[in-house]
Structures are given as C-alpha cells and as structure tokens.
Point group: none
C-alpha cells in the first residue's frame, strides 16, 4: 500500500528519525530524513514533500528558523509543516505559528496519534494542488532540473552547480527579489558561510553566460530575475 505522499522528517536525534520513519513507512508514505536544518532545505528544494515534520530543537539552525526559510522558498509555500516539541515549551508554539507552522506534535510521540494527525494534515493540504516546479520556463529561458540544464533560445547551457542553483532560484519566481540572506540559505546552506562577494561573482558569471539584462540588482536587498 502506497499513498504516494512524501514526508520529510527533520530531527537531530537518529533514534527519533528511525522510530518515526519505521512507523510512517508502514503506513505507506515515502520518507525522507534530514539531521539538521540545512539538509532539510536541500532535500525540500529538490523533493518538494507534501509534509515536513521539524524538530523545534536542533543545533545550528533550529526548527523555527528552518521553517521561516522553507516558507520563503518558491514551491514550498503550500507544503504542510508540523513541529515536534517537547511537552512544556509552549511558548515556542506561539512563535511557531507566526513562522508559518501548520501543526504541533508533542513529544513523546505515540505512533497512533501521530498517524492520525498526519492524515488530517495531508487531507487539509489536498485542497492546495500545488504543482511542483520541475521545469521553469520564463523569458526564453528554460530550466530543466532533471537534466540539470539551462536552455536558452533552444541552445543548451551547462552551468556549474552553484551557478545553476542560483539561476534556478532566481528564475523560479521572476520579478521576486531574493535577499542575499535567502540566496545564501537556499543555495549555500545556512552554516556553510561564504564571504559576501561570493554571490556577486556568481552573478557576474551568470550574466556573462545568459546576458546582462536578466538579473537585476536591488541594492541593499538582493537580486531578481526579469525578462
């Protein structure tokens, strides 16, 4: 029995990951796991799960922060996000909802409860038929994630990974300004911190390759893709 629903589990404790994985797989969900926020971002971008379950308490980037960033990423606006919290930290619930969480699940977790909660959540999500973005096409530029290729006016362009990810991000929502912060999180990952000029250099390379006019600088904010 397979529901075809994809769930991304994020927790720093391997035990919990395994425990939940086991129980959810049994119910026919496709499971993806991440040990920390950054991993979660990477996976989420590529997989676009139906539900993300985030532990609130994690080192480096906590659940809240992860959630906030996830919500900014194109394609992940409509994904259901649930938080795992230890029982008594209810202050975090308030903050969590502000950040865009859809539900809370208290530890310790009882499988039965969890599953019924998840079903409810996914049912709730059914309404949103959010198509995942495998191919982005805008302004004569096609982005093929599958083949890792940019196609511009019919001509195929091979870009190095970082450049590809950067362009894919910008082009995923033409017109939207992506802050440097968001770019860093989404292309580089939260704690792989690189110098500030790194983004610029990649932008330069992109402009060289696809033309000067597609990527516009919004000084003090970030960049946006336009055509």
């Amino acid at each position: 029995m397979n529901t075809g629903k994809k769930i991304l589990l994020v927790d720093d404790e391997q035990d919990i990951l395994e425990f939940l994985s086991y129980n959810l797989k049994k119910e026919g969900y496709d499971l993806y796991t991440a040990n920390n926020g950054n991993e979660a971002l990477t996976i989420a971008k590529n997989v676009i799960p139906d539900l993300i379950i985030l532990d609130v308490m994690m080192p480096d980037m906590d659940g809240m922060e992860t959630c906030r960033i996830l919500r900014e990423l194109p394609g992940l606006q409509n994904v259901m996000i649930a938080f795992l919290t230890a029982r008594n930290e209810d202050y975090s619930q308030i903050a969590g909802f502000e950040v865009g969480a859809d539900d809370y699940i208290n530890k310790p977790i009882k499988p039965r409860v969890l599953i019924s909660r998840i079903k409810a959540l996914l049912r709730r999500a059914e309404g949103d038929n959010s198509e995942k973005i495998e191919k982005i096409e805008s302004g004569g530029i096609k982005i093929d994630r599958e083949r890792y290729l940019i196609i511009q006016d019919g001509i195929e362009l091979n870009l190095p990974k970082k450049e590809f990810e950067l362009l894919a991000l910008l082009a995923s929502k033409p017109g939207k300004v992506f802050t440097r912060e968001l770019i860093l999180y989404s292309v580089w990952g939260g704690d792989v911190v690189v110098g500030d000029r790194t983004i610029d250099v990649h932008i330069r390379k992109l402009r060289e390759k696809i033309g000067e006019d597609f990527i516009k600088t919004i000084k003090g904010i970030g960049y946006k893709f336009e055509f």
Copy 2:
C-alpha cells in the same frame, strides 16, 4: 557600519573573549565582556544587551546558573541568551534550554558561523515576523514588497531602500500622521541615530519621484500620506 545591537560576552578565557570581541565588533556590534557570572550580572543589569553569549563552563557560577538568574532580573526576560558549549556535552544542551537559553553554539567557533547565528538570533528577537504588509494599494499607488517596486498608474518605480521603506510606511495607513520619532524608529531602527534633516531629504526625494501632493507635512509633528 553600526548595527546598534549590544552583545554581552561571558567567558573565563581571555583568549576567547578577545577573539569573539574582535570578530563581532567588526560586524558592527557593541561589545561588552565579562569574565564570570557575577560580572555578567552587573553589566547586564546596567546595559540591557540585546544578546548575551554565555560559556557553559565557568568556575564559581557556570553559564546555566548565570542564565537562570539573568532570566529573573527585570528587563532581561526578553534578552536573547546563547550558550557556548564544547562539542560533545550535548546533554547540557537540553538542560540549557530548560533554563531559558535561546540557542547554543558549539566550540570550536568559526567566526562566520557565529555571525550568521547571531544575526538569526537577533532577528528572532526583533519579532521580525511582524507582518510587513506585502501589497499596499492606495490612490493609484501600489507597493509591492515582494518585487520591491512602487507602481504608479501602471508605471513601475524603483526606489532605494530607505525611500521605499519610508513610503511603504506612510502609505500603509493613508491619512495617519506619522511622527518623526515613529518614522525614525520604524524605518531606521531603534538605536540608529541620524541627523534631523535626514528624514526631510528622503521626503524630498520621494516627492520628486511620485509627485508633490502625496506626502503632506504636519509641522511640528511629522508627515502623512494622502491622495
């Protein structure tokens, strides 16, 4: 560049204190340092920092204990507190959160990582989730935060950051008079002090760009947006 944010560092090792101080000052934070818990308490009471970074392991009064007391002090309930911990003592992490810590940072510390973490923490403290209005529309003027654009009679206008924020603020509530104080606070931020004429100049620029009649001066008080 000065963020105006105050950080109190507490560690018994002078090396670490200096190392962190140096790196954080470079980022524009105001630094205060203490060698032990008691010193920390004294300073914190007087300064009310935005963030306190506490070494977990200190002689006499350890970080956890210091944290517990800090949290009791009036005015320090909402200060962000982060713990510095050696990598493997993760049981203390849990205890730390119970005591009221907002984050923990593992040693050894990489400056870049530290800084991105601190930014995240301070952002969290700001209550940065303060719903900034995404689209304001009034009197033929549309403000599109996502695209960072002003659209006037269908014509797109690019404004520099401060001008944009200022206009967005005024236009968010047409007719309402915004005092200079409020404008400063919300566009420039609580502790950034700029000269008195700065607002005027920005208003001038705005009037040049969108027309003279939208922004009205209320002498002695501030400005309002009308149409």
